[in-house]
Symmetry: D4
Subunit: 226 residues, 8 copies
């Protein structure tokens, strides 16, 4: 494929049309800093290039969501996640469980869940199971064990991945969130906590990066044999 | 008490002889950066000023411990804690439980335990109950609940205080340790984790500060009504 | 108690109804990031679960306070602290003294005071006794000594806990605040100062965490023998 | 399993014998800060508890390696990785490829490779393919694509995972190393670079944590259907 | 030249009229924190002092751009770069190529390009060639090689300069941008990545400092022999 | 003087009326975070306690300045400095020269100048003499030498104090400002630069702390023998 | 004075012989990183250029001190300060008081004291008056008040300057030391504490920079009228 | 060129033999962390591949230098720089001037100078011209102006590039060094100072990275028209 075929120059952006061929997944619209018009244009263009496969836009503020709703009536919006999906997601292979610690972590968990589904795995969610109420974690131990990959979302001290990672041996992607104040340092404390986890086999993505965790988890889950 | 009575000028240091009157506890010898001779001199002088009450030296390296052993045969040394105690500890009031997460946290936990006892409370210890093996914490839940104050020692991500603090409502002093590497930042990650704990009622001392935790916990425990 | 009994699923949150049984204190509504409606719903639900005991909401912005005032006329609001209390606080056991350094530290000190009272201890306050006017601290030395636990609130360099901690031996929880500018780093300088205090027996909570200090202090004070 | 069955108290440590049942993998001896005797004792005890499955010790300094060689002649030592393995590794399921950027990253890459094998996957290595010589990465593109999971090890600016992650869609664990000087900040720059990667689906472990990456990658690879 | 000749005191600022004599380039108006009136006054004054040479204002917000458009109809505005140029740029000597990684880096790349041209070199741009789509970089390798100096602009992990610097030996100025979130730390991660680049011969300017990169690159390019 | 005489309790603040007796200077109103009403009340009260001596309020936003202008017509406002002065400043003893590097440093320099004058020394100012135009510094060398104390204000890299401190031996207080962007880290880079100055005898105050520099310089200057 | 007269090129260093003319004080030998031979050569050369005035070398390790003792028998060594002085100090004008908080701060306090005397002021010292024993500070209040300039040296939380600065209005230079551990961050916590002091008029030098404080204080004190 | 031709696999390293073709300069041996044997092997191999062009090894400790001296008698060692050169440097095109601030910066300046020469430009040096003695900088102004590229090396506050960059318009590479203590933070303060320079057109390399500055400067200088 030549460069002119693999890249679509829209003036304000050059879309990487070759990414699905290389990595199995099409490019995604990262909405932060883009105008509603640019989001709609990019979604439309990506959908045209990948008609048989859902394409995704993330980090959409209310104005961008409104414009997508108006211009792309087939798009599916998730206002908590701040995402729009256009087209049918692939038939799910494997299953990801998204576990989050507090109510304020919900937007990141939702972004992760949508991203998992668009990238080809099934997804379930369990919310509000922070370590300060351990019985809530222990009560779902079996569901943790049955997943093909776990995404564990937590802010503040970010201890939930250590606890979950000590209970089961399922691949686990930890997502620190910026929930907290003062010495939480905008999520750095949760990030550092997860990187230093005493439970082995945990890997970590950027603060609030539900999307990245979703892609990683879907890639793991959809390879799983049943 | 005049200043000349309340302070004992040894040339290299001015001992605060008035501290027990003000705060209930005599001054303590912080051994880091002091010569073995200075440690022995200070312990001797403090013991003379407080004959009916144990006095303490902390952060003693092997040379200082050796010199104390030679010059002060009545002193009690704890080589793991790096401490020396001279004189009888007060009759214990209240009980502190020191809980630590990993084997490498033992020196800090030991310094905390010695400090508790010297400052007038009874002390017990439970070691190696990191959150990656939650059953080890849950197995000791009743002992946690029966203490008058808890000291919880952990390095790496420092998640143990959050777990313990969600299980019981006993006053809890968390001690981060410098155990870890890389992004543990010499204990800062554990410190930040504990400060951001989602379990309420936890307070924190400096990295590796077993002594400070011991003083704080003993003051809490010895006030407790039975 | 089964998980379905111990947790109340409200959709946007799962309330930990079991916390009082485990720790002696009911769950608290942390208002930051919640809608006024969610605050009212959570307060109502917690009050129903703990009818004989005051429940607390913190970090309420003016809109949330207004809504609580309208919907829950029995709630007691503290606009400086940003808190709402619903129900009778327990009969006080022990007494906590909240000492603050500057006028700008008042909201944190007020949050601490409300939290102490809701968690079952009596509370008094002394404000504006910064170390730059030492006579103001020395003038209240006796009151410091008579408390069962001290909460010391300070921003900027956070030196007040060191001074107070050298005057008395009462258990002391230090609260750094984000008051300051430039090299105060949003409260980190005060936090670091308190963690490195040369006065023994001081423990520290997160920046601006009056609530956490209040819970810790109340737990200490209400155990005290008289 | 009772606590006394699931934990083996050696005095200096309490071994978690239950971990394999919970997570599929036995506990590992983290050698840093342990005496050669403790390493030998722990390896022996773990081997006895898991006779049919290799057990691992990491971060062994030369003295510990020497002692293992003398006392445990069946142990397999890897001096570059600083590891010892005792017992047969499980039959490999799935295949992990460890890719490293510079010659100084070799010890971390070796620790990762040994850990992968002990945790039940096959492993291959490609070294010295830093992004400053892109032809070396491009030349191995097919091998990258055929792996079930990638471990990408790099110090300095840590750019290699971004390049690899843009070429293939295989699950990818990035390992920052402490290789570098000055503004590398002991590996923090590489860590931050990897967390901010513009290539989606990358997750990250602690600086120099080859072991953690190995466990994570093996868990992913051994689930893969062929 | 006396101080009164070399400096023009405008009350709110003292313009350095001597700079062109010393360094070859006139002073530039840094618009951040200046009122639209001050920007117009300074541009006018600099233009009067350097009538045969374009003068530049950077970091102009929309209000300042509007005012310049109204008061100085001969000025050329670049709304993406946030710049205004007044007067003819020097005949170009040498050629600079500005390469940027993502669409959000466009403002910084544009500021760099305008600055290059005003400071006397020709300039071209290539956008949106992030390392996650390496084919886009490789496709322009020849153009990279033909430039007299490269400016490489990237946010997030800032890996593009390492890749470009490994492909060609052209002098290369790297510009980190504040594009990113969470652990990007406002551009510090990209800055650190570029400072630690494994490709030799790269030098770096401040975060978002397109102007500084433009001056440096123009000075290099215009010295080049053809 | 008893505590009730030395402190004036206004409810929202306790004014330190004893400060002038102890330190020679009355308390000052720090306006940040105070309502316009509180500023007026405090200024009025301080003026009543120190009728023969100017009292000062700093960090006044436009609303507070407007209120002071309306309620206290005798107050002198400096809108650049954000200050209000009420009463006659003391007869000046000694002379302070405030030197600033860039136009954006003017507010901090103005706050310093007002503070000097209120605290009893004469003051002069020189602005916009950054080190990138060294001739502007060298042209004022004699004026630097004649001052009794220098205040040197600079943002960005904060190099001006090093240059000035190498030219003259006058006591020098350096004030870093938050002027800059990116790696200026809100003034931390200037602060660090000044603390590491290779010119001896420089001391430093907090970022943007013109007031503190003014107090320090006035105390130095007014002791000077002529 | 031409450059060849004002600079003495020794091969490994170029001595600034003009500094006394410009600033009133000769250059000083900073011993860290210099060989004993270089220290002796530099001291000898500076003494020859300033025969009527003491010259100073700081940061001398034991080997350098030994060599100075052997080669320059007229030099006066201070082993606690790590300094050597050659020649007669100027007749003292004004008086500086050096106050330090803990025994471990003695070397920095000693370096400050020697530097004061060499730079032409008289000096006295008070040690070990940390804020945890406030009576020790209050007992010396009159001596604080009588000094022409104060140097206040403290490590850990660095609170002593705030307390002293609230007691008297004497010019005050604060010196943070690297004494402490864990969250003291090598003296950064003390530095930050001093920069954020709530007592006005305090200025600060680099961590452990007794020399810089001494120069600054001597310059202030020797200007004082009696 | 095939991968097997462009890369030389030595087991412990894969030498990039293709680098000169791509970038104009052969690969360099970075000696840190390599054994003396590896350094000799790599130098020998690179020399064989580039017989007509000098090859370079940097960061050689005394043992590695000794071994090079013994095994490669034709190599030229620079003990201050810690470098070894094997083969004839290219005929110089253009001229670089290396300017350093203090005597302790000499090793970094020497590494830069050697690297310039090996990479094909002529080089001169001026040492010990710190900004605290400005006359030393001003005395060499003409030499600064005549260079084709400047390398400016400084530790502590790193102010020298700002001063030099304000005097001339020559391309300028700034090198921060780790010289300093306390708040110099191992060179970070100098690095930050240089990145925030108020003089335009300065670009910066990593702390102590004389080599990188040398490569960058040589590439600039050798393009210069005469």
């Amino acid at each position: 494929m030549s460069d002119s075929q693999s890249t679509d120059d829209l003036g304000f952006a050059r879309v990487d049309l070759d990414r699905e061929r290389r990595t199995g997944d099409p490019e995604v619209v990262y909405g932060a800093g883009k105008t509603p018009e640019q989001v709609v244009t990019l979604l439309t263009r990506l959908h045209a290039a990948h008609p048989g496969r859902a394409v995704l836009a993330t980090r959409l503020d209310p104005a961008a969501q409104e414009r997508v709703r108006a211009d792309l009536p087939d798009a599916v919006l998730d206002p908590v996640a701040g995402t729009a999906t256009l087209g049918e997601p692939p038939a799910p292979r494997g299953r990801v469980l998204v576990v989050s610690a507090g109510t304020s972590d919900a937007p990141v968990a939702a972004e992760a869940a949508v991203s998992v589904r668009v990238h080809g795995a099934a997804v379930e969610r369990i919310g509000d199971v922070g370590v300060a109420g351990l019985h809530r974690v222990l009560a779902v131990r079996d569901r943790l064990d049955e997943a093909d990959c776990l995404i564990v979302v937590a802010g503040m001290e970010g201890a939930l991945p250590s606890v979950v990672g000590g209970l089961v041996g399922v691949p686990l992607i930890a997502v620190p969130t910026s929930v907290g104040y003062g010495a939480s340092l905008g999520g750095l404390s949760a990030l550092l906590g997860m990187l230093n986890s005493c439970a082995p086999g945990i890997s970590v993505v950027n603060i609030d990066n539900g999307y990245g965790a979703g892609v990683a988890a879907a890639r793991i889950a959809r390879r799983t044999a049943r």
